[in-house]
C-alpha cells in the first residue's frame, strides 16, 4: 500500500466534486492509501496570475503549511496548472514577498508533488517487469470506448513537460486518442483572463470546439478541470453534444 496525499484543488472543491471522487477511486483501485489534508485550500494561482502577489502568497502559504506537514511519500495534484504553481512558481512567489522560509519549504516539497497522470505513469513503471516497461500498459475498463480527443493543457505541457503520460494512461484503458491540429493550443481559460477578456477567451474556445466538431469525436479528455469547465460551458452554450472529462473520470473503475 502506497500512502498518497491528495491536494484536490479549489476547482474540484468548488465545482467538480465528481472529478475529485473519480481521482480518489482510481488511486485507491491502484493500491494508494489516499488522504486529503483538511487544511489545504488553494495553491494561490488565481491571485498570482492576476498580479496580486501578497494575496496569492497568503493563500499559498496556508496550503504549503498543510502539504508540508503531510507524511505521505507523494502529494497528488489532479490539475496540471496547480501542480505547476506548486513546483515552479511557489518558490518565486514566496521570494517576491520576502518569505525565504516558505520559499525553501516550497522547494523541499517539489520532489513529492506529482500531477495525476504523472503519478499513474510512475506506478505503471514500478509495477511492470523490466521487459514490459516499453509498452507500459495495465488492463483498464473494457466497456465500449468512445472516440476521444486529448486536450494538452498549457502549463502541464510546457512548464512541467508532461506530454505522453495522459495518452499512455488512455491507451492502457483501451482508448486511442485521435491526433488533431489544435491539441496543443490554449483553450482560452487562463484563470481571470476568462472573465476579464471574455470575448477573446470565448473566441479561443470556439476555435478549439470547431476543430473538435470536425473530428467527430464523442469526448474530450484533459488533466485540468478548469480548461474542461471552460470548454464544456462554451460547448453547452453552442448546443454541442460533446462530453468533456477529466482523465480520472475516464479511468474510474466504477
Amino acid at each position: 500500500m502506497r500512502r498518497t496525499a491528495l491536494f484536490p484543488t479549489c476547482v474540484i472543491d468548488t465545482v467538480a466534486g465528481d472529478v475529485g471522487m473519480a481521482v480518489v477511486r482510481v488511486l485507491r483501485s491502484r493500491g494508494h492509501d489516499v488522504d486529503v489534508p483538511d487544511d489545504a485550500t488553494c495553491c494561490g494561482q488565481p491571485g498570482w496570475n492576476a498580479g496580486h502577489v501578497d494575496e496569492a502568497a497568503a493563500v499559498a502559504k496556508q496550503t504549503l503549511g498543510a502539504l508540508a506537514t503531510t507524511t505521505e511519500d507523494t502529494i497528488c495534484v489532479p490539475a496540471g496548472s496547480c501542480a505547476t504553481m506548486i513546483r515552479v512558481y511557489w518558490p518565486v512567489l514566496f521570494r517576491l514577498v520576502n518569505d525565504e522560509e516558505s520559499a525553501v519549504a516550497a522547494e523541499g516539497l517539489r520532489d513529492r508533488v506529482r500531477e495525476f497522470s504523472e503519478l499513474l505513469s510512475e506506478d505503471d513503471k514500478a509495477m511492470l517487469p523490466e521487459d514490459d516497461q516499453a509498452t507500459g500498459t495495465t488492463p483498464g475498463p473494457t466497456a465500449a470506448v468512445a472516440a476521444t480527443a486529448y486536450h494538452h493543457s498549457c502549463h502541464m505541457l510546457r512548464e512541467l513537460g508532461i506530454e505522453t503520460q495522459p495518452e499512455q494512461a488512455l491507451q492502457a484503458a483501451g482508448i486511442e486518442p485521435v491526433e488533431w491540429d489544435g491539441e496543443r493550443q490554449c483553450c482560452g481559460f487562463g484563470g481571470t483572463f476568462a472573465v476579464k477578456q471574455p470575448e477573446l477567451s470565448t473566441a479561443m474556445a470556439d476555435e478549439k470546439l470547431e476543430a473538435l466538431e470536425e473530428l467527430e469525436v464523442e469526448q474530450v479528455v484533459g488533466c485540468d478541470t478548469s480548461c474542461l469547465l471552460h470548454l464544456r460551458g462554451r460547448a453547452e452554450r453552442r448546443g454541442m453534444q460533446l462530453r468533456f472529462r477529466h482523465l480520472a473520470e475516464v479511468l474510474d473503475p466504477t
Binding site: G51, H52, R158, Q197, G233
Partner: protein
C-alpha cells in the same frame, strides 16, 4: 497621420471589434498557423536547435550587459568610415534629427524600407509634418500606408488584408492601376513599377536595422524584397534608425543570430537579401549614398536595463511569438492597438508607450507559454507579462478589484472560511460566490452544474469513495 488605435479604447473593445469581422479571424488563423508551421519545420531540421537558442540567449545577455561599450565602439567605427552618428534619447529627438537632415539637404521625397522602430517613434508623421513626402517600399508596409492603417504584424504588416482589399487600394493609387485584376502577379508587378519610380525620384532613404555589429561598425538588414538595396543605394542620403539594443559584438555572434532569425520569422534558412552596410560611398566605389547617418534610439530602453524586464531587450523582432500566440491569431495586431503586437508587443507596450491604455496590454494573454517556446532567443515572455501585471496592481489596481482580491485572500488563507465558501460555491455551481469577482463567464458559457451534495470534501466524508 497614422491613426492611433490605442488611445481612448480598451483591449476588450478592440478585441470585440476584431472578432466581429469573421473573415479577419479566418485569415489570421490560417496565416499564423501556416507561418508557425514553417518555423517549426525549419527549426526541426536543426538537430541542435535548443542549444543554439541557449547560446543566443547568452549572447544577447552579454550584448545587453555590455551595451554602453558596444554602442561606443559601433559609433566610433561608423564615424571612422565617414558616417554620422546621433544618439536620440527619445522619439522626439530622433525624429527632429532626421527632419533636420532632410531639410538641410532640401529633401522632398523620402523612401523607406520596413522599420518597426520608425513606427514606434512615428517618424513618418514627423517628416510629413515638415512637408516631406514619405513612401514605404516594403510591399506590405506600402499597402498599409495606402490603407491609412498601422501595420498589424511586425513582419507582415498587411497580414490582415486580402487580395481584393489590395486590388482596391492599388486601383486608387493612380490611373495606371484603374484596371488591375486581383491576380497576385499583376498586383506585384504594379507595385514594382510604381515603387521603382519612387526609388529613382527619392533624395532620402530611410531604413531600420536588424543588427548592428560593433567590431566593424556595420548595419545589417535582413529582407526578402529588393527594396532595401534600392533605399540604401539610390538616394544620396541614407539614414538608418536603430533601437539601442539591436547590437552584437562581432560577426561570430551575428552569424548565430542570422541562423535563428529567418527560421523563426519565415521558416527560411536565410533571407533573399542580407545587406551589410558600412557607411557612405568611398572613393572609387560604384554606388552607395553620399551621407550615411546612424540614429541610435533609446526611447525608454535604458530604463529596462537592470530591471526585471531587461530580457525584453534581447528581442530580435522575428515575429514568431505573434504567429504562435493563441490570442494574436484571434484579433491580429490592430486588436492590440499598437505597432508592436502579440506577446512581445504586450510586454513592450507598458515599458515603451506612454499612453495609460498601454498598461493594460499584459492582460492580452492566457499565459499559455507558447511564446516562450517559439522565441529564438529564449525570452520567458509569459514571466515578463506576469511581472508587468504585478507592477500594475502595485501601482494602481482599481479599488473594487483590490478589495475583491483581499477578500479572496482573507477567505482562502483560512481552512474554515475556505470550506464554507467552496461548499457554498459547489451548491451554486460557481467558481466563486457571485459578486466576489466580476463575472464575465455567463454571457458566453454555461455555468457548471450545482452539486447538492455540498462539494467534494463533504461527499468524500459521507461516501468514503
Amino acid at each position: 497621420m497614422t491613426p492611433d488605435l490605442l488611445t481612448g479604447t480598451t483591449l476588450r473593445s478592440r478585441a470585440a471589434r476584431a472578432l466581429g469581422d469573421s473573415s479577419l479571424t479566418r485569415v489570421l488563423r490560417k496565416t499564423t498557423s501556416y507561418r508557425d508551421g514553417l518555423r517549426q519545420q525549419a527549426e526541426s531540421v536543426l538537430r541542435n536547435h535548443d542549444e543554439l537558442v541557449a547560446a543566443a540567449r547568452r549572447i544577447r545577455a552579454d550584448n545587453i550587459a555590455q551595451l554602453p561599450a558596444l554602442l561606443e565602439q559601433l559609433a566610433d567605427k561608423w564615424e571612422e568610415r565617414g558616417g554620422q552618428v546621433f544618439f536620440a534619447a527619445d522619439a522626439h529627438e530622433a525624429n527632429a534629427y532626421v527632419v533636420d537632415v532632410a531639410l538641410e539637404r532640401g529633401v522632398e521625397h523620402a523612401v523607406k524600407s520596413k522599420s518597426m522602430l520608425t513606427e514606434e517613434i512615428a517618424l513618418n508623421d514627423a517628416l510629413e509634418a515638415a512637408g516631406i513626402d514619405v513612401v514605404e517600399t516594403d510591399l506590405g508596409e506600402w499597402i498599409v500606408q495606402l490603407a491609412g492603417q498601422p501595420p498589424s504584424h511586425i513582419l507582415t504588416p498587411a497580414v490582415h488584408l486580402q487580395r481584393d482589399d489590395i486590388q482596391e487600394l492599388f486601383r486608387n493609387v493612380d490611373d495606371r492601376g484603374a484596371d488591375l485584376s486581383d491576380a497576385p502577379e499583376e498586383l506585384a508587378a504594379f507595385a514594382r513599377r510604381e515603387l521603382r519610380r519612387r526609388f529613382l525620384q527619392a533624395d532620402l532613404g530611410i531604413t531600420g536595422c536588424n543588427f548592428a555589429v560593433a567590431e566593424t561598425g556595420t548595419v545589417t538588414l535582413v529582407m526578402n524584397e529588393g527594396n532595401g538595396r534600392m533605399v540604401t543605394t539610390l538616394p544620396p542620403v541614407h539614414v538608418a534608425v536603430m533601437g539601442m539594443e539591436r547590437i552584437v559584438a562581432d560577426w561570430q555572434q551575428l552569424d548565430l543570430l542570422l541562423h535563428l532569425l529567418p527560421r523563426a520569422a519565415t521558416g527560411q534558412d536565410i533571407t533573399v537579401y542580407v545587406n551589410h552596410l558600412t557607411g557612405p560611398r568611398d572613393t572609387g566605389e560604384m554606388d552607395g549614398p553620399e551621407q550615411s547617418h546612424l540614429v541610435i534610439v533609446d526611447n525608454g530602453r535604458s530604463d529596462m536595463l537592470g530591471s526585471e524586464f531587461r530580457e525584453m531587450l534581447h528581442c530580435i523582432r522575428c515575429g514568431a511569438c505573434l504567429n504562435t500566440c493563441p490570442v494574436y491569431r484571434q484579433i491580429g495586431g490592430h486588436g492590440y492597438g499598437w505597432s508592436y503586437s502579440g506577446p512581445m508587443g504586450a510586454v513592450l507596450a507598458p515599458l515603451l508607450h506612454a499612453a495609460p491604455e498601454a498598461r493594460e496590454l499584459p492582460q492580452a494573454s492566457s499565459l499559455c507559454g507558447a511564446c516562450h517556446d517559439a522565441c529564438p532567443v529564449g525570452i520567458p515572455l509569459q514571466d515578463l507579462l506576469l511581472g508587468l501585471r504585478r507592477r500594475e496592481t502595485e501601482r494602481q489596481a482599481p479599488p473594487s478589484e483590490a478589495a475583491a482580491w483581499r477578500a479572496w485572500a482573507a477567505a482562502w488563507s483560512r481552512p474554515a472560511t475556505y470550506r464554507a465558501t467552496t461548499s457554498a460555491a459547489a451548491r451554486l455551481g460557481r467558481f466563486v460566490p457571485p459578486g466576489l469577482l466580476p463575472d464575465g463567464w455567463t454571457d458566453s458559457r454555461a455555468v457548471p452544474r450545482p452539486d447538492p451534495g455540498g462539494g467534494f470534501r463533504a461527499r468524500l466524508r459521507r461516501e468514503g469513495a
